[in-house]
């Protein structure tokens, strides 16, 4: 297992953001975590990259346990993860190339290896012609592809995508989901948070539903019928 949640609960001022969550994710799996706004999807993601730690229970991600992790281990854990956000989080004062190269640069990769990897990845994602552009010069779809390229550049074991299509039109959203499926088919585990699980074709992923911090049976989720 590359991700394990064992009876994880997280409370903010006694308010339960997550309650008694048990999840296991295997290597190379595609997991879709769905649920309405405020269901706890983002909190769950924060626990995976250990930007937040459980109030009780434990999370284990690629061998790092939340109850034993040291501050210095966080960087090592996060180098094994790629993270994509709804609002892209690209650095506006850096070019596409520099944004994508960042995870390699902070890991101490040699400039030659950085160049080789970034060029090949940008070519793969059809962004090579945009490598000198700044984020504000790109369309929303291009920005999200750059964000995915940044998440993938260091060959992560797990790609976490938190509502990656939230700011995109349906056509661009479909292409982003296709890209995630393609990434998953090459062996990288993908965990996708979305409020609209219909974006992901049935049979390509395992689906989990969160509602008010609890994992629920899809049929008992209020919003399921409207999907």
């Amino acid at each position: 297992m590359i991700i394990t949640f064992q009876n994880v609960s997280r409370y903010y001022n006694e308010w339960p953001a997550l309650e008694n969550i048990n999840i296991q994710v295997q290597e190379g799996e595609f997991l879709v975590v769905s649920g309405p706004s405020g269901a706890g999807k983002t909190t769950l993601f924060r626990h995976i990259w250990m930007g937040d730690l459980p109030s009780s229970g434990a999370v284990e991600v690629v061998g790092f346990r939340s109850d034993r992790i040291r501050r210095s281990d966080l960087a090592l854990l996060r180098r094994k993860l790629g993270i994509v956000f709804q609002d892209f989080r690209l650095l506006s004062d850096r070019t596409v190339y520099d944004n994508v190269a960042l995870p390699l640069q902070v890991a101490g990769t040699s400039p030659k290896a950085v160049r080789r990897r970034v060029f090949s990845l940008l070519a793969e994602m059809e962004l090579n012609h945009r490598r000198g552009s700044y984020p504000h010069e790109l369309s929303g779809g291009e920005q999200q592809r750059v964000a995915i390229a940044r998440a993938m550049v260091a060959h992560p074991v797990i790609l976490l995508a938190d509502e990656p299509t939230g700011n995109l039109d349906p056509e661009v959203s479909r292409r982003v989901i296709d890209l995630l499926i393609e990434i998953n088919s090459s062996g990288t585990a993908v965990v996708l948070a979305t409020h609209d699980p219909r974006q992901v074709p049935a049979g390509t992923a395992r689906f989990l539903y969160l509602d008010r911090g609890h994992l629920v049976n899809p049929s008992s989720w209020d919003g399921y019928e409207q999907l």
Binding site: W49, R78, L91, Q105, V106, G108
Partner: protein, 291 residues
């Protein structure tokens, strides 16, 4: 590791490049604050030099009774030269005293002629002291011992001005330390505020770096470097400005500029307050990654 360090340095330069104007303004502010300190140091240094020169002249002069022979005087000088705190002794015979009097006060030389050949200036022993014995308590203690010796008629050691001189030197040293402390603290706050603003401006960069796996030191190093550079550049700028002012005033107000050791002290103070300021700024400024 070497690439990581190179990239951290590059991040530092990117930080500065992104806000060159505000960085230069901060350096100017630091320079001006340090200039106040530098001017205070120049004044202190020159006052200190004058006071130290005065202190170097602190010694004891013993006037001997008329009946003390030259042999007895030399013996007394030998005993005194073996005492703690005495660096050297010099016996001044009546003839030498008269020669000195005539040389130093030629306009009053007639007075000796008037008093006749029977009058002799008293023989004396001049005592030079080790530097750490030039305080009023130590000189006073030594003078009390010597005044009880046979053949001593009078003893002179500047007991009127010596306590004031010693106190002035002490106060000056305390003032320099206090001003250095206050200035280091205020400079640290200036730099801390600047770095805090820089961190706030770079919040997304800091968050993303942390999320993509940058080690903590990699995130912090550019800001620490910025603080260090601000401190060094600010203190260097202040020395140049103070040097220019000092040069302009040198003809109308003769004085010395700071010695090398004090210049180094200003630079070290600048560098350390810059780093301390960055550390303070980062402590309150670096955000936790949010999702």
């Amino acid at each position: 590791m070497i690439h990581l360090i190179k990239n951290a340095v590059r991040e530092g330069f990117l930080n500065i490049k992104g806000k060159l104007a505000s960085f230069l303004i901060t350096i100017l502010m630091v320079s001006l604050s340090f200039m106040v300190f530098d001017i205070f140091l120049v004044v202190s240094w020159n006052m200190g030099t004058v006071l130290k020169k005065e202190q170097e002249n602190v010694g004891i002069e013993i006037f001997l009774l008329e009946n003390v022979t030259e042999v007895e005087a030399v013996n007394l000088a030998d005993i005194i030269s073996g005492m703690d705190g005495v660096r050297s002794v010099y016996y001044v015979s009546p003839d030498e005293a008269e020669a000195v009097f005539r040389a130093d006060l030629p306009e009053q030389a007639d007075l000796l002629t008037l008093l006749g050949p029977q009058f002799h200036l008293p023989a004396s022993i001049q005592i030079a002291l080790h530097p750490n014995y030039r305080t009023s308590e130590k000189v006073g203690g030594l003078a009390r011992i010597i005044s009880g010796m046979d053949g001593v008629e009078d003893i002179v050691y500047g007991k009127e001005y010596l306590p004031g001189l010693t106190r002035a030197v002490d106060i000056l040293e305390e003032l320099v330390i206090l001003a250095g402390f206050v200035l280091a603290l205020s400079l640290s706050l200036i730099v801390a505020n600047t770095v805090r603003l820089a961190v706030a401006k770079k919040a997304l960069t800091v968050q993303i770096m942390s999320i993509v796996g940058a080690p903590g030191w990699f995130v912090k190093m550019p800001f620490l470097g910025e603080g260090l550079l601000t401190g060094i550049a600010g203190s260097t700028g202040s020395l140049l400005l103070t040097g220019a002012v000092s040069w302009m005033l040198s003809s109308s107000l003769p004085h010395e500029f700071l010695p090398g050791k004090w210049i180094m002290l200003v630079l070290i103070l600048g560098a350390s307050s810059g780093v301390a300021g960055s550390w303070l700024g980062m402590k309150s400024g670096i955000p936790k990654p949010r999702s």
